[in-house]
């Protein structure tokens, strides 16, 4: 019985300890000044000796590139049709039409062709010396 009481006391103590307030830390908010640290004094703008340093002179504020940690992000196949967006682009990018050109007049009347032994039904080049097709 005493063993059970001891366990209960330990659990209760742990619970109460976990609810105790931690050491108070200042609340920080994001800032729109890129040279103002979110954790303290803006180093380039209000130095303690009144001399304003250039941002480049302060090593603490130069961001360094970090490599992307694995796994490498991959593109997910689109599950929506880009058609409407593209059609809007096509419409907005469509250039001014060319000036209308005068096209040849289509044949208006029936044509006749007599079929003889020498008639060929395709346009051809009966070359004997240099016909070539590549």
């Amino acid at each position: 019985m005493s063993f059970t009481r001891n366990i209960s006391a330990i659990l209760l103590a742990s619970f109460l300890f976990s609810c105790a307030p931690a050491v108070e830390t200042p609340v920080t908010f994001p800032t729109y000044d890129p040279f103002v640290s979110t954790g303290g004094t803006p180093p380039g703008h209000s130095s303690t000796n009144g001399i304003t340093s250039t941002p480049a002179a302060s090593e603490t504020i130069i961001p360094s590139a970090t490599s992307t940690r694995p796994p490498t992000p991959t593109r997910v196949p689109l599950n929506i049709s880009p058609l409407i967006g593209i059609q809007n682009q096509i419409t907005s990018n469509s250039p001014t039409p060319d000036a209308a050109r005068v096209l040849p007049t289509p044949r208006q009347q029936a044509d006749e062709q007599s079929f003889s032994p020498a008639t060929r039904l395709e346009v051809s080049h009966s070359s004997t010396i240099s016909a070539c097709k590549h």
Partner: protein
């Protein structure tokens, strides 16, 4: 067939008079949406630094693991796109976007495998290489016919004839023509409209007009000094007037010359094709030599000369610099389809084939090319003297340098 009461589509009796009805234009007109600038049709300056291999690898689709035996050589997907884009001078970005739109081969590792990834279901054009060749040639045909103001209607795959919107540009005409070969009005309208092919292009490469190089061909452009493609003092036959620079869809940008010792055969000539201008050889292939006249190493920029049917034996190598009149190689039948030894020469500027019968004709040492409106027929004129191209070796078509 209805107009002629023909029941058997495979047989015609001699003496039959065929009636070819006037086209019945559909009420609806063609799309006016400009899909790409002209510079995105050609393999031009904006494509010079585009890495086909890296792009295909980055997409991880079926094209990235594809390989095909092309004329005895195993080519992977990137090789095929590169070869066709360079040979036909068609922008690789456009070919890749079309391939993706038609079959998903660029991004999908497990697409529906088909023999016709560009969507042209012709058994004679099965496989990626032939499909991409068909696509490039078809795009070129639409582009250069529009350039020559030779089009007013599209005849769609289902026979409907629709008037072309007169405000489109040549690059857009190329794509509209491509899809006209594949479907009827509704799919054509969709493919060439705001929700069609252009969306795939945007997803891959963003705004095509962001790549625009304009003007692709400056109004003041003139041809640099060029000579006939054979040695001084020699005479060759002028055997081909303005005709397709590469395959049948490109501009009529080529001329043919045959040496005197060919006799109508395919034997390699002992004579030499000589450089028409100064420039760096950037590429050689089966029968081909590409010479870059602005020496930047990119055949997508500035003036470029293409020599075709140059035999491998004795041919100049890539990286060599040729001054005008230096030897390129021997004329032959090598490369493409050729029935007699000759050299075929063509020009590009900023990736666009320059027609030999257009506003910037060939000027080969004072001989200026012109055409008659019939492919392969044409003239070389110097002062008051003209020589007509002939399909034979005659004194009349012999031209002396």
């Amino acid at each position: 067939m209805d107009a002629n009461n023909i029941t058997d589509p495979n047989t015609l009796e001699v003496g039959t008079v065929l009636i070819i009805p006037a086209p019945e234009l559909a009420a609806a007109g063609g799309n006016s949406l400009k899909i790409i600038p002209d510079s995105e049709l050609v393999n031009g300056p904006a494509a010079a630094r585009f890495s086909i291999k890296k792009f295909i690898a980055s997409q991880g689709g079926y094209l990235n693991q594809y390989a095909e035996d092309v004329k005895g050589v195993v080519l992977n997907g990137a090789d095929i796109i590169e070869a066709v884009s360079y040979n036909y001078s068609v922008n690789p970005r456009l070919l890749l976007a079309l391939l993706e739109y038609q079959s998903g081969w660029v991004t999908n590792p497990n697409p529906v495998i088909t023999d016709y990834p560009m969507g042209y279901a012709d058994p004679a054009k099965a496989g990626l290489y032939k499909q991409v060749v068909w696509a490039a040639n078809t795009l070129n045909r639409g582009y250069y016919l529009w350039r020559a103001n030779a089009l007013s209607t599209w005849v769609l795959a289902d026979g409907q004839v629709i008037p072309i919107d007169p405000t489109i540009n040549a690059g857009t005409a190329a794509i509209q023509y491509f899809f006209s070969e594949l479907g009827g009005f509704e799919p054509w309208q969709y493919d060439t409209g705001i929700g069609g092919f252009v969306v795939t292009y945007y997803v891959f490469f963003d705004n095509p007009f962001g790549y625009a190089v304009e003007p692709l061909i400056p109004l003041t452009l003139s041809q640099p000094l060029m000579s006939l493609p054979f040695a001084e003092g020699e005479s060759w036959y002028f055997t081909g007037g303005p005709h397709g620079a590469w395959d049948s869809g490109s501009a009529w940008g080529a001329l043919d010359f045959a040496p005197m010792d060919n006799s109508g055969s395919c034997a390699i000539s002992s004579h030499w094709v000589t450089a028409m201008a100064d420039g760096l050889v950037t590429r050689t292939g089966v029968g081909s030599v590409i010479q870059d006249l602005d020496n930047d190493g990119y055949e997508q920029t500035g003036w470029v000369i293409v020599y075709m049917h140059v035999a491998a034996d004795g041919r100049v190598a890539p990286g060599e610099y040729l001054f005008r009149n230096e030897r390129v190689g021997h004329p032959s039948c090598e490369g493409g389809v050729s029935n007699a030894t000759h050299v075929h020469v063509a020009r590009k500027y900023n990736g666009e084939w320059i027609s030999a019968d257009g506003p910037i004709p060939f000027n080969l040492g004072g001989w200026v090319s012109s055409g008659t409106g019939i492919e392969y027929d044409g003239y070389l004129t110097s002062g008051s003297y003209s020589i007509e191209a002939l399909d034979s070796a005659q004194p009349e078509n012999l031209i002396k340098r």
